[in-house]
């Protein structure tokens, strides 16, 4: 490696990202480590939920009927659409369609915001109906699980906002977009977790 490249930290970091891409195919060690940690964390929550369900069958049978299924379903559609937009953004950057990439990233961010609005409305609806985290074991786990996921959506929105700003500043192009791709992978992970949460909490009795 020439001394000119060594003295340029941006170039060195790009080479590192591309090296990771060659090794992992997509993403890098950091993002895969984070995704596996997050998926494991949520797997433990799901096990706790199922243990509770096996010990308190009546409460867990009644629980989903007291939730707002429409709100849960809308949030599922919104997160899937967010995943779709981020996949389109990654696809657009591969052909250097800068404006299209920026548009899809903003649409992904908007889906995250829509999810948050519906989730807050749903929490208010629950509380007005007399269900809070101390109502019973089902609602305790429901609030713990969904609020934890809500926090992850906020983190995902921050990551998407970060790469959107990076796009506006011209940091990514068809050859160098590993960070954008990793941000997309994190967003997909949030969607994957909700794909399990929605049927487990709202649908299965």
């Amino acid at each position: 490696m020439s001394s000119a490249v060594l003295s340029n930290p941006v170039q060195t970091s790009i080479d590192g990202a591309e090296l990771h891409k060659t090794y992992y195919g997509i993403g890098n060690f950091a993002i895969w480590f984070l995704i596996f940690i997050e998926l494991t964390e949520f797997a433990f929550f799901f096990v706790v939920f199922l243990i509770g369900k096996s010990h308190y069958p009546e409460i867990f049978y009644q629980g989903p009927t007291e939730l707002n299924t429409i709100a849960g379903m809308l949030n599922t559609l919104i997160l899937i659409t967010g995943s779709f937009f981020v996949a389109r953004a990654v696809s657009a950057i591969k052909t250097d369609k800068r404006n299209e990439t920026i548009l899809f990233l903003w649409l992904t961010f908007a889906m995250g915001a829509a999810y948050c609005v519906i989730k807050i409305w749903e929490y208010q609806w629950n509380i007005q109906s007399g269900f809070d985290s101390s109502t019973n074991y089902f609602f305790g786990v429901y609030y713990y699980l969904t609020f934890n996921h809500f926090v992850h959506v906020l983190m995902g929105m921050s990551v998407i906002l970060w790469v959107t700003i990076g796009m506006h500043l011209g940091h990514y192009n068809s050859s160098h977009h590993a960070t954008l791709e990793s941000a997309g992978l994190y967003w997909h992970m949030i969607d994957l977790v909700w794909i399990v949460i929605f049927p487990l909490l709202y649908v299965l009795r």
Binding site: P57, I80, F84, A87, R88, H188, D191, L204
Partner: protein
């Protein structure tokens, strides 16, 4: 080739929305039964696989990563099915005597 990728992503988005609506409709309208539990868990598995392969693009990833994430969406729905259909099994395992 990239137009084909765009069309593929669009197609699977519609499929995922349809699967979500289908599972919700079935769960709301049908009487709860073991068959419905299996249908819903199968839907979780399919939706997970579609997001992993078509949106995340893990076909291009290192096989160990792809298969690990895939196995999450096989093992978890199977575990959920067993625990919902046979709750006494998990209850017995987790009771302190």
């Amino acid at each position: 080739m990239l137009d084909r990728e765009k069309n593929r992503i669009n197609f699977y988005w519609i499929i995922l929305l349809a699967l979500t609506l289908f599972a919700t409709f079935i769960a709301e309208e049908a009487t709860p039964s073991n068959f419905i539990v299996l249908v819903i868990c199968f839907t979780i598995s399919i939706k997970g696989r579609l997001v992993i392969d078509e949106f995340m693009g893990l076909r291009e990833a290192k096989p160990i990563i792809r298969y690990t994430i895939h196995s999450y969406f096989i093992l978890l729905p199977v575990f959920i099915s067993i625990c919902v259909i046979f709750p006494e099994f998990l209850s017995h395992l987790t009771t302190i005597k």
